[in-house]
Amino acid sequence: MAHAIFFYTFSIIAVISAIMVTASKNTVHSVFFLILDFISISCLFIMIGAEFLGMIMLIVYVGAVAVLFLFVVMMLNVAQQKNQWFAGHQSSRHIPVGFIISILIFFEIIIVIGGWKYKPEIFDINNSTAQTTLSNTHSLGQILYTDYIHVFQISGMVLLVAMIGAIVLTFRQRSGVKRQSYIKQISRERAEGVEVLEVQNNKGIKIDD
């Protein structure tokens, strides 16, 4: 019974916060709802015994990805955005694209879940060497780092290439930027910074040319 209570609590929170992500008008609030969604989903993961996935979900999505989301969203001017997005006429052009994408995703989910339900032999997970006696951290490690190490490495490479590509595309060399050299600052001697001059009476001194 306790299991059911926790399951329904977390899933209701997850669904409501997922709805609120799209429904709330303040973008920062939607990110906070997204975080709540992530947290409740990771609780659901823990409840089905996938504690490693649940924790990784917390660390990666909530601890890193959502922080970056917040970073970007907080920099935007929310009041200005409200005027643009909710009162302007420009938004109407994006709605059909959004509809097409969401219909596509909907059918994809139907295919995946329906296929899993009615033809379970397609998604046969027994062909991997995952053993049920191991804890799920061990068996995940076994699959990722022993059985499918090459695929895993290649996907890592693809991600690395994507990252470098993004950096190259957005990188621009600006001229006239003053850089601080760490070593130069530390290795500065007194003689370079201070000069003691003999000032003659009533004459003054010209320092800069």
Partner: protein, 332 residues
Amino acid sequence: MEYINIIFQEIYKILFLLIPVLVSVAMIVWLDRRVWAFVQKRQGPNVVGPFGLLQSLADALKYIFKEIIIPASSNKVIFILAPIVTMTLALIAWAVIPFGETQVLANINVGILYLFAVSSLGVYGIIMGGWASNSKYPFLGAIRSAAQMVSYEVSIGIIIINVLLCVGSLNLNDIVLAQQNLWFVVPLFPMFVIFFISALAETNRPPFDLPEAEAELVAGYQTEYSGMMYAMFWLGEYANILLMCALGSILFLGGWLSPIDLYPFNLIPGGLWLILKILLLFILFALVKAIVPRYRYDQLMRLGWKIFLPLSLTWVVLTASYLFYFNLLPAN
């Protein structure tokens, strides 16, 4: 009826853990100020109670009776939520800290990941407080601290991987038991140093206290807070510091193991050893606060990304290859 019994038992256990933690947080604030003062040849708080021990209590009373001011232009819900989040996250992490082989509230399989996840969630209290205040200084402080905490988390994560390679388990008790012959501080000493410095940055302690650099940002993300809400931020911060000390002593200093496995030392309960180790690390934290000047922001980022990250990654490769070639990898 059975459920109610279980719930009451658990609540009893939780209170038995949380009340000492809260009291020790108050004491640790006093210790911090005392150590800080002694380094600077001052006396520190020594008036209230014997040696000034009750100073924190007096401060807490003062904060309770002060007015809580909520700025008119702030985002009220998130503004109130921020200190609550900080405080809660600082306290829930204590659930998995083992004080002995059986004296642990929740002996979960992925204890270290849980600790890491909770400490990485700690950034939200600060971001929420900074953004909801709707004011310049808190916002700048929040942005700074978010960037800082995310960067140093990466190196802490990789240092944890180093330890896990030697242990072969994510359970905190297993990590402690793996150090029975040799504490990890000996073979992984460079990692211990990096962990200590990263923990300073992760908890926004000096010399990395840029989020609340009083010279530039007044008090950073806490600027608009007052009364009990400010005190909650403060307590949460110190509870986090204690937690980081506990994590450091579990990962590197052998947790609840006694330093010498001989007769008179065996009698001392493991919890006491853990507390002594936490105190040792905390006094180091306090000393660092007293003797080191604040970092500049670009230097802080440089240290995190260009020095600590490559160093700890290299050490992962070193540890892994050493363990592999000498056939020391822990069997699962």
